[in-house]
Amino acid sequence: MKMLQTEIHEIESADELQKIISENDNVMVCCGRMGPMCIPVYDAMEELEEERENVKFYSMAFDNPEAHVIRNAPEAQGFMGLPFTMYYKNGKVAHATSSIQSMDQITSVLDKHFN
């Protein structure tokens, strides 16, 4: 069941996430809630989705039990701020951030890892 009200495609299961990252070179997944720290990140992703054809953008609800793959990822250890944002390159985590990120911070990660 979808839990996030964004224009970004919401991943609903761990299997779906695995399939997406195995089929796409560059994937950004924002795992959060509909809260003030998460919404600006979804919003930036919506803008970037139109500009960056080489990257696939997805959301995943933090409270979805299936999101354990992100919540418990080694790269997210010590994270104490939503959203958890994961950047996957060729199926592996290339970068991960915790809490709100600005458009500039997101684009700098995309430029560094997905160009």
Binding site: Q5, I39, M80, S98, S99
Partner: protein, 307 residues
């Protein structure tokens, strides 16, 4: 592409989107330039229960509806527009973007909004997301049975401190004055909560820790004495700043760096109007921003008729 408009709006928060709706519906060619999240501070509101005519919604949905409304009337919205220079004097105003594009208009409505104030002290950026947060609703449950601090003395700080006691074992409120600016009921609620302690007349000086936040250093202002508070997390609620820095020296600002406008939302420059959280006013609500956006658009329309 026609890059000259009747009305150019800087910012797409509640005031800017409303101005866009009114101006474009009046058949004025209208452009909104925005850098940041569409909806501004409005999207940071989880539940909106006091917007007349809408029982309850969230800020994101409300902002998206406003955006769709504006676009449906022909308003153009350009996001991620980083403006390098403003030329606001004369009959034709213009802005230059960092990427070299230029947009011109006969009138400009400034609605750049505001942003949460940060402390700007050592360690704040380092521990953002690993101990430092700006949202109790979002991150409170990461601090179950932990000791945390809340910085600030306004309504947000005290109300969120009380909310956070449902997760944390202890909440220390650090405030720079010997009294709070919050409403009395919020102060009372916090004072009677046994999990809350108060460190008054003190300012944070540094965050430190090994991998995650462990220590908040504060200075007692009357004595200059510094002390360390052991914390697992800190929530910062110290108000908002108007996004008016680019307009210093161009448009009249008051001592709080807010645009000075009259009741028609006119600034000191003919043809330049301002609305929303960036103007000289007391109450900052979605309803006040939409009202000011409306007035600014109607005033801009009137200005164009008289040109």
């Amino acid at each position: 592409m026609n890059d000259t408009y009747d009305v150019m709006i800087i910012g797409a928060g509640a005031a800017g989107l409303t101005a866009g709706i009114y101006a474009s519906r009046a058949r004025l060619s209208t452009l909104i330039l925005n850098d940041g999240a569409i909806g501004g501070q409005m999207v940071l509101t989880n539940e909106v229960a006091n917007y007349p005519g809408v029982e309850t919604t969230n800020g994101y949905v409300l902002a998206n509806t406003m955006k769709k409304q504006a676009k449906s009337f022909g308003c153009k919205i350009k996001s991620n527009a980083k403006i390098a220079r403003y030329h606001l004097e004369g009959d034709m105003k213009s802005v230059e973007l960092e990427d070299g594009r230029t947009f011109s208009a006969k009138t400009v409505i400034l609605t750049p909004g505001g942003r949460p104030r940060s402390l700007g002290i050592p360690g704040e950026d380092t521990f953002k997301g690993t101990g430092i947060s700006y949202c109790a609703t979002c991150d409170g449950d990461f601090f179950k049975d932990k000791e945390i601090a809340v910085i600030g003395g306004g309504n947000s700080a005290l109300e969120e401190a009380v909310t956070l006691t449902s997760f944390a074992s202890k909440v220390t409120i650090v405030h720079q004055f010997d009294h709070f600016q919050a409403f009395e009921h919020a102060v009372e609620e916090a004072r009677k909560n046994p999990k809350i302690e108060f460190v008054m007349e003190s300012e944070p000086r540094e965050f430190s820790g090994n991998g995650s936040l462990q220590t908040l250093t504060v200075e007692h202002l009357p004595t200059g004495e510094k002390k360390n508070i052991a914390v697992d997390g800190t929530f910062i609620f110290i108000g908002y700043l108007p996004n008016t820095e680019p307009f210093k020296g161009l448009v009249e600002l008051n001592e709080r760096n807010e645009f000075v406008v009259d009741r028609e939302m006119k600034t000191n420059i003919p043809g330049v109007f301002a609305a929303g959280d960036c103007i000289n006013k007391r109450y900052r609500q979605i309803t006040t921003a939409t009202a000011e956006g409306t007035v600014a658009a109607l005033s801009a329309s009137e200005y164009l008729r008289q040109m």
